[in-house]
Symmetry: C4
Subunit: 232 residues, 4 copies
């Protein structure tokens, strides 16, 4: 795969200047994706590690013991679906990216940081779903993830040489909105956690539903909304 | 690798229309497989995480302590073989798939959901192998996995542009039967769990045996059964 | 990458016969390696999951508490080096393999089964290093792994179409010996566990040392020992 | 991808001599990277596995219970950032490497050994941040990692056939300094642990800050410092 830009930058290769072939290797996103997929695989299965086969104590039936596992199971399913949503979003974004640089590599690592804590946040919310502090921690994690997505989107789309094909202005705005909008809603839920915990919880529950609805709507109307063509 | 179909759809690329090269990247199944293999690697080793070196208490010999680990070990082996079977099936199916779309990506994530719970189900059954509730949970997981396999098979084979080569009608039916048949048997075992727990357990134990027998039979007769040529 | 053999087998492609391109995908070893590397990554780090930061109880210093972690640490290092040895061996073997079939896929899964239990065996030996039952379990695992390596080697080298280049008779024998010899030594240690536990333990400890010595010797004499050219 | 060197070494292929294509496979670094990325994914998420949803006991509020998790959380973040730094360094180094040999494969495994223990070291330091023994263990791990980085750098740059493009003398020295310098600082912190624990702790805390500062400085001055062109 010829790399015209780099060739142009380094026409006469001498001394210690990296060759175009080496430059491609230095900027190859493959390992960024490998690490990210590994981390996502662990995040997706993280809460299942906590669902153990119960040991029955006297006077307990297995059905009762299993009923006590229900909050763990609900937290696992929520965390699984959320991690799935974020993974699909990450895959969509990095499908646009042809090369990485150190900035992008680090932004991606910093994106994984709040993501790793998401199963803990989901588990906390599954166990204490009306406690303002649990609602705020969960909201904070979701806001941080959204912030990192916005930062990565702006960073990558401002550097056309990192992309397979630079998006036009409408597409840039659409991508920004897609990352920013959930962040703002989660910020609202975070701010409401103390004064209106039930409303806050309802927002957290509603957003994944909205996500799947919006996919369905966007897909059926994709011919007209060409700016969403990037999001498969 | 030229992508004639997409080129045909987008002959004049202008404004924000994705290039054929980018379209291939957006539909590349590589990361779907990377995530899936990561999740399978965790599932396969999940129950081994629970087999700890025993600490001897007074009057206990190591042999006695290890004997108490036997159900954990049996559950690990069952779960390992089952996950291996499902992984081989997933590999066979996705070897046919050249491109993914958002629907297929999400169906695959939803397939991983009951799969992640399978080690828990196997552990539960290994510990309480005559309890109807354990038999029903295990059966429910196996039925859900079978349902997702059928849905993915129908989804993919109905979209020839996602495949390397569209299967003919006989092959579609053979693939459907291969995914549907175990599901129906597991449904039966699920329904029998309350009235005939021992029969239910026997069915769960018999199916992996049948699986290996059917592979052997199919392979020896593969020349005649051309519709199974896809399943290596 | 042209696949002459398969083209020869399927010159006239009609009905549901898979195309050469699809056949390559069905036999691609990529996912077998991805799953295996994922499992090895977990095995390599498995015992580290059990080394927790100690909580000090009254009258205990941190140095004393850490001293109690020493057997866990030793078991981790042993298990790490062993898994490293097996991973290098697996990488050497599968570097020869161009295509997989269902038999090889399943043999590889069955190879991973005793491997997953190896950290448990190493942990057990680290904790109870003179108990015959611990020595026997550890030896049994090592023998099973060696058996699976022999079986995979024979299976693959008997099927030249699965290989990049068929080995000649001397190379086949050298590969067989490299897999068989440690297995026989471990079998001896297993059999000695009850009557001479200390000798058995000494054998387990000596083999990794022998492994690194033999690498060094083989590498320096590699020009003459052309049959080991495959083992980098 | 033609491999002239190997072709030159083996012009007349006969008997059991590996073909150039097979030789490339035997030296392909792909699986080394796959294993390493898998191990890094686990290391990065290792401490998050220990942050569990607290169960409230009588008279405890959730806020108090969460406050007790703070040291675990701090240890997770430190360990995450450190593992991120090492992963970026590993990615930079192996982007230069075109082929591996057995020596490099084993050096990489031995590099992963202290790395796997780093989360334990970080957790220990997060919990007992003024205890000399904790400071020494943490320092020892960091020194061992630095030693392995230096060894790998020297090993690879002394074998030009393993590299995409051999670095010149200035680049070799720059790479050596980049691996050696933190090692020496950590050695100092290790030696100071007993006599000046607070200073030792300050050094551990300062180095990541210095790392990010030096990146920023090097990047802005990269045109002049051509020897750092390899480090993206």
């Amino acid at each position: 795969m010829a790399d015209e830009r780099e060739v142009a930058v380094a026409p006469a290769r001498h001394g210690g200047e990296p060759s175009p072939e080496l430059l491609e290797h230095l900027h190859d996103p493959a390992r960024v994706l490998a690490l990210t997929d590994g981390v996502f695989a662990i995040i997706i299965t993280l809460l299942v590690l906590e669902i153990h086969v119960p040991e029955l104590t006297q006077g307990h039936t297995l059905t009762e013991a299993l009923a006590e596992l229900r909050p763990s199971l609900v937290a696992f399913v929520i965390s699984f679906i959320l991690a799935g949503m974020y993974w699909v979003g990450h895959r969509d974004l990095f499908a646009l990216i042809r090369r990485t640089d150190r900035g992008l590599v680090w932004l991606n690592i910093l994106y994984l940081l709040p993501l790793c804590l998401l199963p803990f946040g989901a588990g906390l919310l599954g166990r204490y779903d009306t406690e303002p502090v649990a609602l705020r921690i969960y909201g904070l994690l979701l806001v941080l993830i959204a912030v990192m997505r916005v930062v990565i989107w702006l960073y990558a789309t401002n550097r056309p040489h990192l992309l397979w094909q630079p998006p036009d202005t409408r597409q840039r705005r659409a991508g920004l909105a897609a990352a920013l909008f959930p962040g703002l809603v989660y910020l609202l839920a975070f701010l409401l956690a103390r004064v209106a915990p039930r409303l806050s919880l309802a927002i957290y529950g509603a957003l994944p539903v909205l996500y799947f609805l919006s996919i369905t709507v966007l897909r059926s109307g994709r011919k007209r909304n060409q700016e969403y063509a990037y999001f498969t």
